[in-house]
């Protein structure tokens, strides 16, 4: 059913892929295709899996999931983290990347080195896009740590630059971002006023797929491919290239990467 379409070569299956259009450096629109880390990863997978052809598009993040849910898209790419509901709603791959989470504060202002710090020091956390995995991540944290709850505010699509500006001008005390999102901002005039914490944890990301027989089959191929790319160092290579540091070389990276969050 849905958007799979028999090509001239009937053995090739077309997969429609969507990614958010403002999630640099993970995904962004690049001449009608997906750019950034996942653009590179998809390109490689497309090359390797001859039986699949990946039709790419970018759109607003909530829209990506409306499309994924309705079956318009087969595969959604970005640094999606684990949440139980997501994994129940969609098919998911094994890990396809490793994010390094940091807390960003204002130089000379209040500091935080862990999520618990934010709660105990009563710091205000910059609002997080409700579609963003970080939002669910903090919700999850709050559920697990009812004693040290963080005051979480939602917001619509917002770039890292905007959020970090709010920290640098003192509107909020702290923001949480993967290092990759912080890094490009750090060199801007606002960014030089910021201080970044050490890694407060590593987080896996996954592909999410619309539930269908076609995609079950795709999933198997994807998982096999991801394992190959991890093992041959391709993931590490593009992580270094697009995300500014090779998180796969971090201590504990291997065990984190290979854990199954559903267990």
């Amino acid at each position: 059913h849905n958007s799979s379409k028999a090509n001239s070569n009937s053995s090739v299956t077309t997969i429609s892929v969507a990614g958010p259009d403002n999630n640099r450096p993970y995904t962004y629109p690049d001449n009608g295709k997906i750019g950034g880390y996942y653009g590179a990863l998809l390109g490689r997978i497309d090359q390797d899996l001859k039986q699949y052809k990946f039709k790419q598009t970018t759109t607003a993040q909530n829209s990506v999931f409306v499309g994924l849910q309705s079956g318009k898209y087969d595969l959604a790419v970005s640094n999606w983290w684990y949440s139980k509901d997501r994994f129940n709603t969609y098919l998911h791959s094994t890990s396809n990347g490793l994010d390094d989470l940091r807390l960003i504060t204002k130089k000379g202002g209040k500091t935080a080195n862990s999520l618990k710090d934010i709660a105990t020091k009563k710091l205000t956390l910059a609002p997080i896009s409700t579609d963003d995995a970080r939002y669910a991540f903090i919700q999850d944290y709050n559920k697990k740590n009812p004693k040290y709850k963080i005051n979480l505010k939602g917001i619509g699509d917002q770039s890292a630059g905007d959020a970090l500006k709010q920290v640098s001008n003192g509107q909020y005390d702290v923001a949480i971002y993967p290092y990759a999102a912080y890094k490009p901002v750090s060199s801007t005039s606002e960014g030089t006023k910021l201080r970044v914490s050490k890694s407060i944890g590593l987080e896996n990301s996954y592909f999410l797929l619309n539930k269908s027989d076609k995609n079950e089959k795709l999933l198997k191929a994807l998982n096999k491919e991801l394992k190959k790319l991890k093992d041959n160092g391709y993931l590490g290579k593009i992580t270094k290239k697009y995300l500014y540091e090779n998180t796969f070389e971090f201590p504990g990276a291997n065990s984190t990467f290979n854990t199954d969050p559903t267990k």
Partner: protein, 223 residues
């Protein structure tokens, strides 16, 4: 950031914005005319259908309308076995905006039609025109002229609404702006958006000028 870079980037989205504007307006007008026609027929069923349509369409935020068009419409078509997923996004954007604006246009036409002097129609019949000639040659042109100020407002509203197609990933002027802003981590957001606002304003000023010219052309046709 250089102003010229901002302007050229934003203008690269202009063709999409204008395409959306022109085609959405044409289709919205066509649907709107149909709905107005339904609501003016002497039939309770037709009237209620048109009311229901208007209630639904006019109560739906354009943002949701676009999502519905892009994701809902293909599902609907699949029910009858037609796959339209491969249509371009631009088409879905046009569909969403057309449906969204059809409600407003229908009301504009309806009220304009009702305010055309009934005597005009009768005078046409009396010189021996058949009803359809009377309608198309006398009533319709006057309806359009009466509706003109309303239509102008709606076109301007439509220009602005095209900015919402970001929600289905169409790269119009607004999306070009947000993407440019994101390329620089949002540092130049304010500058970019001010330029964006000015470009939209120019488009609207141009539209106002066109309508002013039309009004001037027909200044003696005081309906």
């Amino acid at each position: 950031m250089k102003l010229s870079r901002i302007i050229t980037t934003l203008l690269s989205g202009l063709p999409v914005t204008l395409t959306l504007l022109v085609f959405s307006f044409i289709f919205a007008a066509a649907i709107g005319l149909g709905i107005a026609w339904l609501s003016l027929r002497n039939s309770a069923v037709c009237y209620n259908i048109s009311r229901l349509y208007l209630g639904l369409v006019r109560g739906t935020p354009p943002l949701l309308m676009l999502l519905l068009a892009y994701y809902g419409l293909p599902k609907l078509f699949l029910l009858v076995g037609i796959n339209i997923n491969d249509w371009s996004k631009l088409l879905f954007g046009i569909v969403g905006l057309s449906v969204g604006w059809s409600g407003y246009l229908s009301e504009a036409f309806r009220s304009a039609y009702l305010s055309v002097d009934q005597g005009q129609y009768e005078a046409a019949l009396v010189v021996g025109m058949n009803p359809s000639d009377a309608f198309w040659r006398i009533i319709m042109p006057q309806t359009v002229l009466i509706a003109l100020p309303n239509i102008e407002n709606l076109v301007i509203g439509l220009v602005k609404a095209t900015s919402l197609v970001y929600v289905i990933g169409l790269v119009d002027m607004y999306s070009s702006a947000t993407d440019l802003s994101n390329q620089n981590q949002g540092v130049y957001q304010l500058e970019i958006f001010v330029v964006l606002a000015l470009i939209y304003w120019m488009i609207v000023l141009a539209i106002e000028w066109v309508f002013r010219s039309i009004k001037k052309e027909y200044q003696y046709v005081t309906v």
